[in-house]
Symmetry: C2
Subunit: 207 residues, 2 copies
DNA sequence: GGATTTTTGTAGTGACCACTAAAGAAATAA
DNA sequence: TTATTTCTTTAGTGGTCACTACAAAAATCC
């Protein structure tokens, strides 16, 4: 007996929508118009549900957005984790990460990165959203940092490299790529930035 | 007889506010809360005027914002122009530009860059604001590109350097710095990104 | 079948949004 | 002084915001 079949055995009227599909639609809207720029009416239209269903399922707009942030970040996180396991050298690992960003921003109509976009508008850490965004950014930068430190142990990152500074450099370039992708909508500009960024990364880990 | 004295000789009730001071206050509000996030009520409170005065002077919220964008961009443009005249080498010129960004984002409470912030929310070129932002970005990138081309003629940028790619690289890092400054509010992170960025720039123009 | 539980759709809530009509106030012109 | 012009202030406009009270609908439990 699956979980879904167990779920069906409970009392009350069953839900008319799929939670994940609803999150997916909400994600698209927030990516396009941002947190402030997306109204509940727009969300309910896109999700195919009525306001009471949205509030019943997700609490309020802010809580829904935070759920969407996790839902958005999870695949990226998994992909980076996969790259870490798959690739051996530090250079190949970061090449794959730069390529991940390039692929993400250059196929289809790019709307940038929801995390980066949101950090512009909800930059106050005192808010739930601000704290969540800060946590995601810190986790990402820390992941890059740890991989560079590992590279030092493995010997393919030079001993005198400032790994903290370099992780912030990579993080900054990835953020810049997201901005350029959304603001300029030029795949060439994104590609140039990331390729030049990786080229310099190759040099920087060697000295 | 000055222009202001001539202005005083016209009919009608004189204005109770200074146009530039009003723009300055509007700039602060838009920098803090963005275009969508700043209401007319917030603007009029900060500017010390009532809505009819705002609409009489600036047209509407969108036109005011576009004026603020120009007002915001002008000093940066002048400063870059001054650097171009002052510095001789390409390296010293770009060092000064990276430092300009560093100084801007690391003194006081940084709110990032109004141009970059706005390009997240008003990224559609079909709007007046989107077109203005695109124009400013293109002008800035073009300025950097031309200076790199000049460097090739002067001989302090290697002949085989892809100047277009490099200008996009610099532009991307400056955008990234603005994002980090606003989102992370860490002066160290901004400094690391810009210093590492300039360090790699030094290498990249030599080969 | 009737009671209970949960979700649904309808139809709103007060608050705030960008913006403005209208009249008073302050200057010049005659 | 009176008329004209321009700006200011007051007091709103309809529209949209996030959010919700309420009752019908659809399931299970007894």
């Amino acid at each position: 007996m699956t979980t879904k079949e167990i779920k069906k055995k409970c009392k009350g009227r069953p839900k008319c929508f799929d939670r994940q599909e609803a999150l997916e639609k909400a994600k698209i809207m927030f990516c396009l118009y941002g947190y402030q720029g997306t109204s509940i009416a727009q969300l309910t239209d896109a999700m195919g549900i009525k306001p009471p269903s949205l509030y019943g399922e997700f609490g309020d707009k802010e809580k829904l957005f935070i759920e969407v942030l996790d839902y958005y970040y999870a695949p990226y996180k998994e992909e980076v984790s996969r790259i870490f396991k798959e690739k051996n050298s530090t250079e190949a690992t970061f090449k794959a990460i730069f390529n991940l960003s390039k692929g993400f921003h250059t196929q289809g109509i790019s709307v940038g990165c929801l995390i980066v976009n949101s950090s512009i508008n909800s930059y106050d850490e005192d808010t739930l959203i601000g704290a969540k965004l800060k946590a995601i950014h810190d986790e990402n930068e820390s992941t890059l940092y740890k991989r560079l430190e590992q590279g030092k142990k493995d010997g393919d990152v030079a001993a005198d490299v400032n790994t903290k500074r370099l992780s912030r450099y990579v993080s900054g370039i990835l953020a810049g790529a997201a901005i350029i992708a959304r603001g300029q909508k030029s795949t060439d500009a994104v590609t140039d930035l990331l390729e030049q960024g990786f080229e310099s990364f190759q040099i920087l880990i060697k000295a």
